[in-house]
Symmetry: C2
Subunit: 209 residues, 2 copies
DNA sequence: TGTACATCAGTGAACGCGCGTTCACTGATGTAC
DNA sequence: TGTACATCAGTGAACGCGCGTTCACTGATGTAC
């Protein structure tokens, strides 16, 4: 039998993923700070000590969850923004894509929203890092298109950060509202984006500075 | 001796306040979900069972902390917005007032930022209620001034919510940045507000709907 | 004002329980020859 | 291919500890007369 990955390594990764999945499920109604290592291993069906073969502690597991959730999202938002269409179309598509992603993996987004300002420092830092990267990616796209001509790097970053924060707030609001309130949240999110877009269009109108 | 308040009641309130203060101090680096009732009473110097004379559990204490922090803020933001001055002045004053409040009682604002999307449902609900009230108060002020003429109630609420969310994000960013990064956070917060204000000024320009 | 009784904020012992971490271990997988 | 040894993911017992909650209690404060 060939061993392109190695049976042992494959099994280890499987257990690690099971720990991540179990933790995410346990975190539906609580925050990471109150999650116990024994709870996670119990849910997976391994001995408590097996946890240490994969993570130093629950904070390290949290950082891994951040990477699992946000690491795979890079390029996505930039791709949405880069697609053609007038600003109203683009705006509606952005909100729809966010809503679809949140509906597809609610646990992951709930975790991010909850821990973004949560009590576990390394996790907070990991989320901040990823979101800062998103903001830069968005800023790069916005700066490259015609409407971004004449914008300073700082202003582009400010706008990118605004879009990213808006995205996270929208995701959190969608989760809080549940399926029944989704339509209303989407409506308000679009309205907000529309207002920001208007502000963007007139950003360079003002008095010289 | 007259008993305008009652010695017993006064002492009880004092203990209750001590519990609230101790809890807030303990929550500087953690979230409410991981706060133990015994930690709080230990910090105050009373028996664990004394806790139950004041709160059913730590979630109830959290709700009381929400009221202590946000309950006293009503009218403040509305007052800032209602004050005279052009939009740029008003904008700078708003950000300064927020920064001053955060610097004056960092623990309280950290608590709100952390628990806004946190793992304790009753606390999350209490914060959402208070912030919704703020949004309505802001919307009322915005609707009453000339620039708000022609705005629908829904649009005013959207804008009020945007300002409130921006305020909370700014408070959180100030706490995360510390004294050293405060100036930069304030700069970006002003820039964002300026963009929103521009969007507001052109909200009614668009195609009829 | 004085006395007798009621209230109730805070006490302290006790309980069963789940926690994180340590340690020496087992046995399947991997590797060297 | 076969054998002998190394690696290491997962085990299971054990530990000391702090937790939330119960209960009957104490003694200062409050109230009725």
């Amino acid at each position: 039998m060939s061993h392109t990955v190695g049976v042992r390594q494959a099994q280890k990764l499987k257990t690690r993923q099971a720990l991540l999945d179990a933790a995410l499920a346990l975190l539906e109604h609580r925050s990471l700070g109150s999650l116990g290592l024994r709870e996670v291993t119990r849910a997976v069906g391994v001995a408590p000590t097996a946890f240490y073969r994969h993570f130093d502690d629950t904070a390290a597991l949290g950082v891994a969850l951040v990477e699992e959730t946000l690491g795979s999202l890079h390029g996505l938002i930039a791709a949405i923004l880069a697609a053609t269409g007038d600003s109203e179309e683009r705006l509606e598509r952005s909100v729809s894509v966010i809503a679809a992603h949140v509906a597809a993996q609610p646990g992951h987004f709930r975790f991010i929203a909850r821990e973004q300002h949560g009590g576990v420092a390394p996790v907070r830092a990991a989320i901040a890092d990823q979101l800062a990267l998103f903001a830069e990616e968005v800023a790069a796209v916005l700066g490259a298109e015609p409407a971004g001509a004449g914008w300073s790097r700082q202003d582009l970053l400010m706008l990118g950060g605004l879009y990213v924060d808006h995205m996270v707030l929208t995701a959190s609001a969608l989760l809080e509202a549940g399926p029944a309130g989704e339509a209303e949240v989407v409506r308000v999110a679009r309205r907000r984006l529309r207002l920001v877009t208007l502000g963007r269009q007139h950003w360079l109108d003002g008095p010289a500075r």
